[in-house]
Every structure is written in C-alpha cells, then in structure tokens.
Homo-oligomer: 323 residues x 2
C-alpha cells in the first residue's frame, strides 16, 4: 500500500471548489474533530464545504459542529472532492456510498490499520494516534496556520483517540502538536470540559449499574460487565452514555482483557472489547464478525444477552490462556 | 516573594553528600513523582538520598518507589540538604518537621500559590501545572539528561496533576516536556497503566455507591455526593480508592461546583471540592478551615455526616448565587 503525499492531497483540496467530508458512522471525537478541522479550513479559504453524516453527532461533540454537518445529500451538487476522514471503507459510510462516489475525485485520510487504498488519493498511517494528527499535517502542508477553532477540533480529535495522551498509540508528535495549539491560543481545558464534563446524571447512574455487574474471569486477567435494555430504560440513559464504561472495566488491576456487553434490542447485542498491555482483541472481534484495533475492537452478536455473555467469556478465557 | 534560581539550587544539590526529600502528607502523583525523580537523579550522582514519608505511598504509585522511601528518621544523620517537594509549609510535613530542620540547608520546590518562602532556598511557581515540571527543569539545570526511570516519575507527576493534560493548569511546557520524555524512551502508557489501570474491583463498587447518592443543587450548577463509613466497610474499599469520585461529580453537565463528602470516622468528615470553569472553591475551603487551589480544594469538618452535607450544600448555594 502506497500513500500519496500530503503535498499531492493539499493540491487537490486547494484546487477544489466544493468538498464533501465523510466521517465514519457512529462518529467519535477523532472523526468529528478531524472533519470539523478540515471543513473549517476549507471554508476559511472561501470554498463550499460540508460534513455529510448519517447519524447524529454525539451531544458532547456538538460544540465542534459550527454549521458544518448535514444529512442532506442535495446540499451541494457537482462535488469536486469526496473526502473521507477516519473512515477506511464503504461499510463505514453505508448510507452515503453513492453520494461519495459522485465526487470527481475521492480522497481518504485515515489511521486504521485495516484500511486499504480505495480512493483516488489516499493517506493512511496506522502509526498515527489519531486522524486528527494527519489532518493537522495536511492543513500545514496547505500553507495555512490553523485558527483557534480549527485547533480546538484538532485537540478534540487527538485527546479523545489517545485516551487523553495515556494510550500506547500516543506519540511524541501528539505532544508537539499540542504545544503548537497552545501557541495559537487554543484553550484545551475549555474543549475538554465540553467533551468530558458535560455528562448527564443519568450517565453516572447507568455507569453505577454496569459496575455492579462486573465479573472477574480467567484468574483475574479478564473482566466482563453487561447492561440490559431494561437498565437503559429505567435509568433514562442514552446509548452513547455507556461508551466509556469499557475503559473503566479495563482499568481493573491485573485485567488484560475487558468486555462490555450491551443489549441494544432483544437479540441484538453490542460487544466492546479492550486489551491492556499484552492482549489482542482485534482477533476475537474478527472471529465474531467484528473488527477494530489490537487494543480496542468490537462486534455485534445476534442472540440472547446471556448467551452472548457466555460466548464472550469463553473467547476471553481462550485468549487469556494463550497470554 | 522572590525565588532563588534553578542554578543556585542546582549548585546546592550538586555540592551535597546527603539529601533527604520531603513530599507532602497524603502524597499524590505529583508529590511522589517529583520526589522519586530527584531522588533517583541524586543517587545516580553517587549521593545518599532518601524520600522521608509519614504515610504510605498509595498502591497505584508504589511502582515509582524503587527503594527510595523510608519512615525511618535515623536512616541518615548529618543531612546536608532537606528538600521539600510539592509541599509548602510545616503543616504539610507535621511528623517530620524536626528532622527537616536538622538539614544544614533547607530547600523548597513547589507550585502551590499559598506557599511562602520558608526555606533557605525556595523556588515556588504557581504557574507550573505540577512540581514535576519544576523538578524536570532543575534536573536539566544540574546538567543531567534524565534517565528512563526519572522520566517515568516526571510523567507520573505531570499527568496526574494536570488531569491527563485536561485541566486549565496544563501548559505548552507540559507538552514540550512530554515530547522530550518520548525522546529519552519513556513508555508513558506503561506508567499510565500502573497509575490508572490498576484498580481493585472494590473501587468500582464504592464508586457505584457514591454515584447513587448524587444530588443536583443550585438549579443544576452544583452537585454533591457522599459516602458513609458503612459504605466503605461493606464494599471493602480502601480510603484512596474514592479519590477520583469528585472529578466524576464535576463532570456533570452545567455543574460549576462539585463536592464529595466522606465520613472518615464518626464526626470526622472529609470534604473535597472542585470548580469547573468559573467557580472558586479555595474560598469555600478556606472559610471552613481548609485550603487548596481555585479549582480544587478541601477541608475537614468535625460534625455528623448529615450536618456536614447540609453545611456544604449551603456554602455551595451561596457561591452559585454569586456566579
């Protein structure tokens, strides 16, 4: 797999009049932050640019969306560039594939190891902690000093995908970018408060319920928690309010494999998997029809919740034996 | 208040044979990280150096203590330098004051705004996010490139005191130090896993209990949670395992003032206070005989738990009215 250069991609964008930006489905901080940063940069240059989405932006990321996102495929026609960010194949933009293909030129900027070159221009760097790192480099290659709002979006992208600079994907480059964002006047605490200190009390209630289900398995090297549809209904928690529970489960001492299992609908079970230092959850997820990174992956199972919990425990026990 | 220069303090340390290092009572990541970094540096130079403590190092920070800490005041006599780190007055080293004064020269390196020059040599910088930042600068001023273990301790100090680079005290300099730590080969994720992913399940259980007591006050701008001695006994949680609950309470949307109130003994109530963006909890804590920073402070109340909860709620309501 050969990447284009940032210079080539910068030229494509600088030469374009109309750009549509495609973050992945169920967008996270890196997807929305990366998309917002490049959208703002293109608009500052006088271009027509929108972020075309197919699901709602999570509440805690809405502050990054300053009129950029739209569900409307007709928002602009004759698109010069279709740019997908943090999104490596059509399965990650399923309801937007046709529109994406309409772009005269297609470009992919991504950091997922599973991404293959599927666009006219591609820059895929699995060593990057976040797509936001790559977007930042691209903006600089375009000859532009990011403004404060662009910087805020870059901070959001990088801090969320690195677990606030704690995950093993964090690099020297992430911190150097942060130092530059301080130089341009980004108030990182303001952004952080928006992302992380904007929780509804219902989130803490659903978290409390999940914690009370924690089971330790594999001689202390695995931990599993689950939530039922009823838990969600009784607490009034929203789906994305359970997103970080899996990180808490992984934080248990000695745990190398963590799972959080959630009943989305009867018979539709979403599984989030994490490894700590030595494990590999990408393999477990792939075996079950899912995907992701070595340390963070997931899958959807179509079976009753208790069966799903048992299946995941079995898979984790096997993986733990192989440690 | 006038600081000495790092150069002057570096010369004092380079000229010393025996150094005792004093972190504050109930030491946190910055206190232990800073103390460990300078202790290791001094030992690498062939000097006798220990960290004299008066309470246990928290479990999740024990990995930083590679034979540095001691409770033994007789561990070394004729001490050349008594060096207190992250600790600004004798009330923060009460059981060690006499030994501290025995040092031929006393030095203070601290970042608390309430610290006054009380040593022969002082470097107090309230703009520093962590004392670890100052220790890092001092080590460089001594002409030494930190080794990996020193770097790990510096990372621990800075990441804990900045809330993983999210708090408003985080500076450009914090990130530049991090980039340098990557250069010397520090595995920040390894350190982070030790600090944050080393929780006992009991911690998640006590957290769940605290979350279930959350009360929202002041029209949504305040939140209070509490724990009883009985909660601690029934879950088997250890005292320091409730340390981060206050950050979760502050994370609630719209909350500017957060309090976590804990019954340590019947009639002895520990109160942790946090402000988000606009509040000032140092004032509330000072009014109640405590102290701390604008965004993070605390006090101890001597009254039954329910009275303490009511008193804190009153104080918070007053502060919220003044926002």
């Amino acid at each position: 797999m050969k990447n284009n250069t940032f210079k080539e991609i910068a030229e494509v964008l600088l030469g374009a009049g109309k750009v549509l930006i495609y973050p992945h489905i169920n967008p996270d901080g890196d997807a929305i932050g990366s998309a917002a940063a490049i959208c703002r940069t293109l608009r500052n240059l006088g271009k027509t640019a929108y972020i075309l989405i197919e699901d709602e932006v999570p509440d805690n990321l809405k502050f990054l969306d300053k009129g950029y996102t739209t569900f409307d495929h007709k928002i602009t026609e004759d698109v010069d560039v279709s740019l997908c960010v943090d999104c490596g194949d059509f399965s990650r933009l399923p309801a937007r594939e046709e529109k994406f293909r309409e772009g005269k030129v297609t470009v992919c900027i991504d950091h997922h190891g599973t991404t293959e070159n599927f666009c006219d221009y591609n820059y895929v760097d699995p060593q990057a902690a976040a797509t936001g790192e790559l977007i930042y480099a691209l903006i600089k290659e375009m000859g532009i000093v990011p403004d404060v709002e662009t910087g805020e979006a870059i901070f959001a992208a990088i801090t969320t995908d690195t677990g606030n600079f704690q995950y093993s994907n964090t690099t020297r480059n992430c911190h150097l970018i942060m130092a530059e964002l301080f130089d341009i006047g980004v108030d990182t605490n303001k952004v952080s408060v928006e992302i992380y200190e904007n929780e509804r009390p219902e989130k803490l209630m659903i978290t409390a319920r999940a914690f009370s289900t924690i089971e330790i398995i594999g001689g202390g090297r695995g931990a599993v928690a689950h939530l039922t549809l009823k838990d969600m209904e009784e607490t009034g928690a929203r789906p994305f309010e359970t997103d970080r529970i899996i990180e808490n489960i992984r934080s248990i001492s000695g745990v190398e494999y963590a799972a959080f299992i959630k009943e989305k609908e009867p018979g539709v079970i979403r599984v989030s998997l994490r490894a700590k230092r030595r494990g590999d959850v990408a393999k477990i997820a792939a075996d079950l029809g899912g995907g992701g990174h070595v340390k963070a992956a997931g899958c959807t199972l179509y079976m009753p919740l208790d069966q799903a919990v048992n299946l995941i425990k079995e898979k984790m026990e096997e993986a733990i034996k192989a440690l």
